[in-house]
Symmetry: C2
Subunit: 317 residues, 2 copies
């Protein structure tokens, strides 16, 4: 479960220096991230709408709060992992006239939002935080639920260098690679650039393998050749979309688990929105978005490598 030896060995001596953390959002990603913080000796107060989710964390040693404000009442650091921009907006800035969490936090609180949302939304929250003397970081992750459980996530962070330096040891408990992408919003921008490219790689690799197979090539032989040639990419390295070419990947397990097609589509839509807002052309990304939009109609819950089925529906059986 990814707890790191160095953290365990330091637990006794360092707990006193560790900030209290409020953790908001205990879904498939948030729950294991919070558990890794507990294992590393951080005192956690957690909040989620789901009682099942909070009970799980309570058993792991967290105290359970009734609201985000309650969770943050004794915290120096707030971490959130929420489904979409509207939830982040609601929690931090409030809605229907009610004040958000930012207004309740003392100056100097460090807020780390690991949700994947539009860069514009992240910048809006960061600006409000800044006016209140609160350090806000957008820190979306990649690595999926497997990475969240193992504590090997990649964090892509936007915000000030000072706030990044404060956040880094905490993020290092939950992740392996921690990048400072730039100022506010840069974490979200870098993540959607990466995930747009990933969608292009996956759709393109699936179609290149299919072209070879339909012309008599063995999918494994072709994959090996491209892996050692200029077609090399992450999907051929660790995530081949053709069944039985690699072991222990979703394509060899009925496209179960992994990163759901509908989540890839969400990220592609964010990339398209960002491109549109900033008047940038992304023809390859737009084509990948179109393919995933059609694919998710029936296959949204399957891993995103199931885009292979667009070319050959027999791979689903």
């Amino acid at each position: 479960m990814g707890t790191k030896d160095s953290d365990l060995s330091n637990k006794a001596s360092n707990d006193a220096a560790k900030p209290n953390i409020a953790f908001i959002g205990l879904g498939n990603m948030g729950a294991p991230m919070a558990e890794n913080l507990l294992k590393a000796g951080y005192a956690l107060s957690v909040y989620d709408l789901s009682e099942e989710a909070t009970q799980r964390l309570q058993q792991a040693g967290a105290s359970v709060a009734d609201s985000p404000k309650d969770a943050a009442s004794n915290a120096q650091v707030v971490i959130s992992m929420l489904p979409a921009g509207k939830h982040v907006h609601s929690v931090y800035l409030g809605e229907n006239g009610a004040a958000g969490l930012l207004a309740e936090l003392p100056k100097g609180t460090l807020v780390i939002d690991s949700s994947t949302i539009a860069a514009a939304d992240a910048r809006m929250v960061a600006e409000s935080a800044s006016k209140l003397g609160i350090d806000f970081l957008d820190a979306p992750v990649s690595g999926g639920t497997g990475g969240a459980i193992a504590g090997t996530l990649t964090f892509i962070v936007g915000g000030s260098a000072d706030a990044f330096a404060k956040a880094e040891p905490i993020l290092a408990v939950m992740g392996k690679n921690i990048f400072h992408a730039g100022n506010h919003g840069a974490g979200q921008v870098a993540k959607i650039c990466n995930n747009m490219l990933l969608g292009i790689l996956m759709a393109g690799t699936a179609e290149a393998i299919n072209l070879g197979v339909k012309n008599g090539l063995d999918p494994k032989v072709l994959s090996d050749i491209m892996l050692q040639s200029s077609g090399r990419n992450w999907t051929l390295e660790v995530y081949n979309p053709y069944p039985q070419v690699m072991e222990n990947v979703p394509s060899s397990n009925g496209y179960k688990g992994g990163f759901m097609s509908k989540l890839m589509q969400k990220d592609l839509n964010l990339a398209m929105q960002t491109a549109k807002d900033t008047d940038v052309e992304t023809p390859m990304g737009a084509k990948a978005t179109e393919l995933y939009a059609a694919h998710t109609v029936e296959n949204g819950d399957r891993d995103f490598s199931s885009i292979m089925a667009r070319h050959d529906s027999s791979v689903l059986s």
Copy 2:
């Protein structure tokens, strides 16, 4: 210049066992490939329409022939490196009623065609060869003129296992990775699948970097993040399309050298033709083909990473 120590040290003892080779087509790729064979101790008879090209090889130790037939008159192996399918057809099968080279070769001759042509054309020549008892291999390369000079090309070979085994030590003089992709035509199929995917990777990576830059990210920081995340691909590893992110790549040298956009477009067109002939859909490949077709109108002689200029023409200056 890539001559390998093992070949040099074996030269004296092994020359007697080395087959005589006819080499047809001494362009930017063929000439350095032929030179590497000479350096490894093979006796070469060469043919090209260009006198300048044949003189260069003559100075390097080759004998110069007046025709493909003349070049092959005392050869057990024929290697060709020609611009397109029509030239391969003409040399081996003849044209305007004249017989081609195949009809002149003794049974058991090994023919290796390293041109990049349509798989259907390669299969047609292979079939004619087979009827005459001649072993034909399609063996297109990747690695460009740099790889040809250094003797580090990748050969992707289609044909019988027996013929492949005979060809392998000869190809190993000119290349580093030698793949047996399958039966006749499989080398061409695998190469165009790889190069279609490469076109997709390059166009997609250029556009992902541009989206980040236009949203305030540093191109090197974003490239580093994607390189260590799921956007990783060959172009980010060794061939970044954004100027000054990497040293010693065409993008940092005015997009000179490398692999010309018009050659990428040729390969993409071959992929599209193969897809059409075999009723296979390639939407990402088709989009990349469309982008390169527009790009080559003015930039055909620039390296194919100059597709970056589609988004930001200032990179050309």
